[in-house]
Structure formats: structure tokens, C-alpha cells
Amino acid sequence: MGTLSFSQALALFLAVVEIAVLALASVRRVWKTLPYLFIYLALVVAIEGARWFVLVKSGTGSRSYSWTYWLTQPALLAARAAVLADVCRASLSFYRGVWQMTRYLLGGTAAILVVLAFARTVEKPGFVSYLLFAERELEVSVVVILLLLLVVSRYYGVELGQPLKGIILGLVFYSSVVVINTSILIGPLALSWPVFSTVRVLAYLAALGMWGQALWVPFSQPERPPLIPSAEFEIASGAVDQRMRELNARILQLMKR
């Protein structure tokens, strides 16, 4: 048995880290709060296992590895979209008033971005080339949706705790690197496939590190937050009371005339 090449060693290391993060997610019972994230992590382990098997059998540059890689990529993309929906729901669904509007906003934006992505890539020739373009557009959509989620959360003062923050950071980081890396590959700069793949793997490792860190510290299962903290309730109800008193006083004045 020969020694492992750098790409094989990196793929092996990635598989180990993926299994570790999946195990951590199982320990933290992530499926209760973020079921699609858990499914995604499990799917990644399964797909990476299959890719690893083909890689060892056929080598990095082989046609079979290339086909295995690109045929499994859409499944991972679909799973990432589900994770996105999962993260949005887990972040805001407890706040029904905010969630009512935000789900339309996020869903509508996602639909527009996906349609735009396909419209921009539909004429790209070749399967791999098409997937590269489509993936880049979809990764831009992922970052835009997550940014929108963060803006809405910030605007309404919704505090996103862990592990949501770490998961969002990991998703945004990985998607941003994929966008830049793919743009370099399909652009005028000659970036070789091995370098392209290595950058992707390293970015995914970094994202896994962020998710691992987010899941490392035990977190309580989210409960419906005390929707109106007493201080806020006093402010809001006091404001309305004050307004009602003013209206009463005005009506009394009118009646005296």
C-alpha cells in the first residue's frame, strides 16, 4: 500500500472532522432544533464517504471521481437550502409577529434569487461548467438570505444565541469562499483544479470548525422566550395608557363645550 497523496490525506482529515462534528451534533441533539442541519451533516458524511471510496479507487483526476463529485453536489446544495430554511425558522419562528412577515420576505427573496441564478446560467455549455456557474449563483443567494436574516434580527432586537450564530457564520464563510474561488476558476486567471478543490476543502474545514465550536458548549433547547419582558411591557402599555388618557381628556373637553 502506497503513501497517501496530499489531496487524499486532506480528504481523509476532512472525513474525520465531518464525523466528529456529526457526533457532536448527535450528543447535543441538534435534530430537535435544527433537523435539516443534522440531516445535512449526516448526508455530508455519507457523500464524502462515497467520494473517498471513488478517490482511493480511481484517483483525483479520474473521470469517475469527477462524475461522482459533480453528481452528488446538487444533493448537497439542496440539503444546504433546507439548512438555510431551518436556520431562519429556528431564529425567528418564536416571534410570530416578526416571523409572519419575514418568512414571506426571505422566501420571496430566495425564490427571486434562485430564478435569477437559473436565468443567468441556463445557457452555460457543459454539465460541470453549468454546475459551477449555478453553484456560484446559489451560494450568493445563501449569503444574501442569511444577511437578510441577520438584518431583520438586528432590526427587531431578536438575539440569536449559540449555536445559531456559529452555524450562520460557518455557512456565510463557506459560501463566500466558494463564490470567490469559483469566480477565479471560471475567470481569466488560470486556477488549476487541484488548487480549486484544496481551497474548497480548506474552506469547508473552517466552516466545520465554526460549527464544531458552536456546538461544543452545551446549549439549552430553545423555549418560547418571555415575549414581553416586564420592563418592555410597562413601557409599551404605559405608552398606550398615556395616549388613552390624553384621548379621554380631549373627549371630555369637547363634551363640556
Binding site: 416571534y95 410570530r96 409577529g97 416578526v98 409572519q100 412577515m101 414571506y104 456560484r136 450568493v140 449569503v143 444574501v144 442569511l146 444577511l147 441577520l150 438584518v151 434580527s153 438586528r154 432590526y155 427587531y156 432586537g157 431578536v158 440569536l160 450564530k165 450562520i168 457564520l169 456565510v172 464563510f173 459560501s175 463566500s176 469562499v177 463564490v179 470567490i180 469566480s183 477565479i184 471560471i186 475567470g187 481569466p188 486567471l189 418560547r224 418571555p226 415575549l227 414581553i228 419582558p229 416586564s230 418592555e232 411591557f233 410597562e234 413601557i235 409599551a236 402599555s237 404605559g238 405608552a239 398606550v240 395608557d241 398615556q242 395616549r243
Partner: protein, 179 residues
């Protein structure tokens, strides 16, 4: 190359914005006005004085001063008028900040608020900000901004009325209010 530059810049900017938003917010006082009773800081106060402010923009005063006062006095009066208008605009903005805060509190806590109502508040918010910018620009150019201010006070009244309605309709579910 353009494609690479565009996507690269976009990705970096979005990543930086996301990191910025994920960082804990610097503790800033949310209250738009310093007052002993925080509840009074939420509903508009200054917009009630719009009739007096409208007098400030009347063309009759300017015509009277032009006819009876010196040019220096007229210049001085115009400069003072601009200062007062700017101050009043910032007061209207303060009024709006209070209502905006109340709107967010209600949106976060309401279980019955519909997407349509929410989007109306967001739309009013955008219109107010646009009108404010327009009024500031007009004052800087030495033009009267009374029409914009009137529309701003109407928006404040409209938003205030909608929020009152939402607040009165709020029926928090049992256990959702911290005792």
C-alpha cells in the same frame, strides 16, 4: 476579469457585513428621548406643534420683513428660520424614532400581527426617511419645506394611530408575559 472583481467584491462585502451583524451590538440607549417616564418617549410629541411651525414658513412674514426691515435683518431672519426648521426636523425624527421603537416592540411581542400590517409600518418608515432627507435638502437650499413637514406629521399621526390599534388588539397568550 469584471466578473471576478464583481463577485469577489460582493462576496467579501457580504461576509464582512455578516460578521459585523453577528458581533454583539454596542450598548446604546434605545430611548429616543431622555425622560423620567419612558412610556411618554414612544408617542410623538413635537408633531403637535406643526401649526406654529407652518407660520414660520409663511410667505407673508418674508414679504413684510422685505418691505419694512433692512436687508441685513431679512438675512438674519432667514438664517434663524433655517436653524429653527432644522431643529424641528430633528425633533420630528425623534418622534419617529420613538414610534419606530414601539413598532418593533409590538412586532416582536404580538402574536396576531399580520405580514400586511408589518409591511405597512416598514413602508411608512421608508416614506418618512425619504421625506426627511428631502426636507433637509430643501432647507439647505433655502427653500421652504413646510409641505414635506406636513406630510411627515401626517405620517407620524398615521403610524401612531396604527400602533395604538395594534397595541389595543394585542392579546398576549397566557405565560407569554413576564410577571
Amino acid at each position: 476579469m469584471t466578473d471576478l472583481f464583481l463577485y469577489g467584491t460582493l462576496a467579501l462585502l457580504l461576509l464582512a457585513a455578516a460578521i459585523r451583524l453577528l458581533l454583539p451590538r454596542a450598548s446604546a440607549s434605545e430611548s429616543p428621548r431622555s425622560t423620567n417616564d419612558p412610556s411618554t418617549a414612544l408617542f410623538p410629541v413635537h408633531c403637535r406643534f406643526f401649526p406654529q411651525m407652518r407660520q414660520l414658513f409663511s410667505t407673508e412674514d418674508a414679504a413684510f420683513l422685505a418691505a419694512h426691515g433692512s436687508p441685513a435683518l431679512l438675512r438674519h431672519w432667514r438664517a434663524d428660520r433655517r436653524t429653527v426648521a432644522r431643529l424641528y426636523l430633528s425633533s420630528l425624527r425623534e418622534d419617529f424614532a420613538g414610534l419606530d421603537r414601539l413598532a418593533r416592540i409590538l412586532a416582536r411581542n404580538s402574536t396576531r400581527l399580520e405580514a400586511r400590517q408589518q409591511s405597512q409600518v416598514v413602508w411608512l418608515n421608508l416614506r418618512f426617511r425619504l421625506l426627511h432627507r428631502l426636507a433637509v435638502a430643501q432647507i439647505l437650499l433655502g427653500l421652504p419645506a413646510d409641505r414635506e413637514m406636513q406630510r411627515m406629521t401626517r405620517l407620524l399621526g398615521s403610524l401612531s394611530g396604527r400602533l395604538e390599534k395594534v397595541a389595543l388588539e394585542m392579546n398576549p397568550a397566557a405565560g407569554t408575559i413576564t410577571p
